[in-house]
Amino acid sequence: MNGVHDMGGMDGFGKVEPEPNEPMFHQVWESRVLAMVRAMGAAGAFNIDASRFYREALPPHVYLSSSYYKKWLLGLEDLLLDKGYLAKEDVAAGHAVKPAKPLAPGKLSVSDVERTMVRGKFGRAAPAPAKFKAGDRVRARNIHPATHTRLPRYVRGHVGIVERDHGCHVFPDTAANDAGENPQWLYTVVFDGHELWGPDADPTVKISIDAFEPYLEHV
């Protein structure tokens, strides 16, 4: 979706301000939100793409004015409500009043926590040969899906070079909507700064994205 989360190239957000000796969490609740998202994901309530989509789908003013973990909290609540794991009545009461919807594989136990600390595997068997190879000139397609996508706006319509292929991966655009893993070839595509930002851009800058095959077309 063309949301405010897709902020590559936007102006006006000001300077980057690193915080010296930054703590891992600024509030205890932040750590609980992180853990709940991980635990509910591991329990089977959603995949990582859906969790990203629900954060992106927050209203722009909410997205921009909420702290990172506040966005995680709001996205988690919306997602669980939509998928029926949480009811409005539960939220209003502050405790569970509606029966639980069955969840598979179900509750994450302490002994399984170690397993969740290892990143999931996203590589999949190739359903078809790759359309592109390293060195190919490709154009990022001018597409604007209203649903989840990992093709940032700032490259759409622009021409780059395929640098590397990463094999086939779960396709976030469908996985986020419960429309299946739909594995797609994934490529690193590199763009010149001039191509993306015009003639005034710094000539020494190159930018790459990792692009799924449906995002690309031959030039």
Binding site: H5, F13, A39, A45, E77, L86, H95, V113, F122
Partner: protein, 214 residues
């Protein structure tokens, strides 16, 4: 709205912001209670998750990988070829997912990693990302004005050096292999690892110089 009302409104809003933290806290607690009561989560498992993030992952993992690459040319070659596989051979470093990519800084190229769409970051190598990495200023500007962003960190890269920005738009994760500081000949891996900063592995900083305070 009269001037007075307006002031009052602003004042009220300000108070509201102050109490917002505890509102959020209450909301988080309520959600945890509901999900626990429904049998979806176990608070002890949440404790264990938080503890694992606090103790098991962090930039010390990435620093060990970098120090090894600085010390062992064969490892460096393997790392740049297939970082997941190479890191997997270091038993003491936590396992990583399938898709780690190491990118090498040279006198000709400086690499910098961002996630413009959210906050993708090599957690196993670097720990949880700092707030600035997840915040709008970095995410918006890194791809358009990387030298300006580096200046915010007090970092300057020679003007003829290529700047390569890696936008983490998929499940691939990028680790910058910084250049080994001069004056470290004969150093042990452990000594070298102490020079490797988190930011040097994101590409927004350099390793410490020998003799600099850590």
């Amino acid at each position: 709205m009269s001037e007075h009302d307006h002031d009052h409104h602003d004042h009220h809003h300000h108070d509201h912001d102050h109490s917002d933290l505890s509102e959020t806290e209450l909301r988080v607690r309520a959600l945890e209670s509901i999900l626990t009561e429904k049998g979806y989560i176990e608070p002890a498992a949440l404790d264990a998750i938080v503890q694992a993030y606090e103790t098991k992952i962090g930039p010390h993992n990435g620093a060990q990988v970098v120090a090894r690459a600085w010390s062992d040319p064969a490892f460096k070659t393997a790392l740049l070829e297939d970082a997941t596989k190479a890191v997997g051979t270091l038993g003491h470093v936590s396992r990583v997912g399938d898709h780690l990519v190491a990118v090498e800084n040279t006198p000709h190229r400086h690499n910098m990693v961002v996630c413009t769409l959210c906050s993708c970051y090599p957690w196993e190598m670097l720990g949880l990302p700092p707030v600035w990495y997840k915040a709008s200023p970095y995410r918006s500007r890194a791809v358009k004005d990387p030298r300006g962003v580096l200046a915010d960190f007090g970092v300057s890269v020679p003007k003829e050096t290529e700047i390569r920005v890696w936008d983490s738009t998929a499940e691939t994760r990028f680790l910058v292999l910084p250049m080994r500081p001069e004056g470290t000949e004969g150093w042990s891996e452990q000594q070298l690892a102490e020079l490797v900063t988190r930011d040097s592995m994101i590409g927004t900083g350099f390793p410490r110089k020998p003799g600099a305070r850590s």
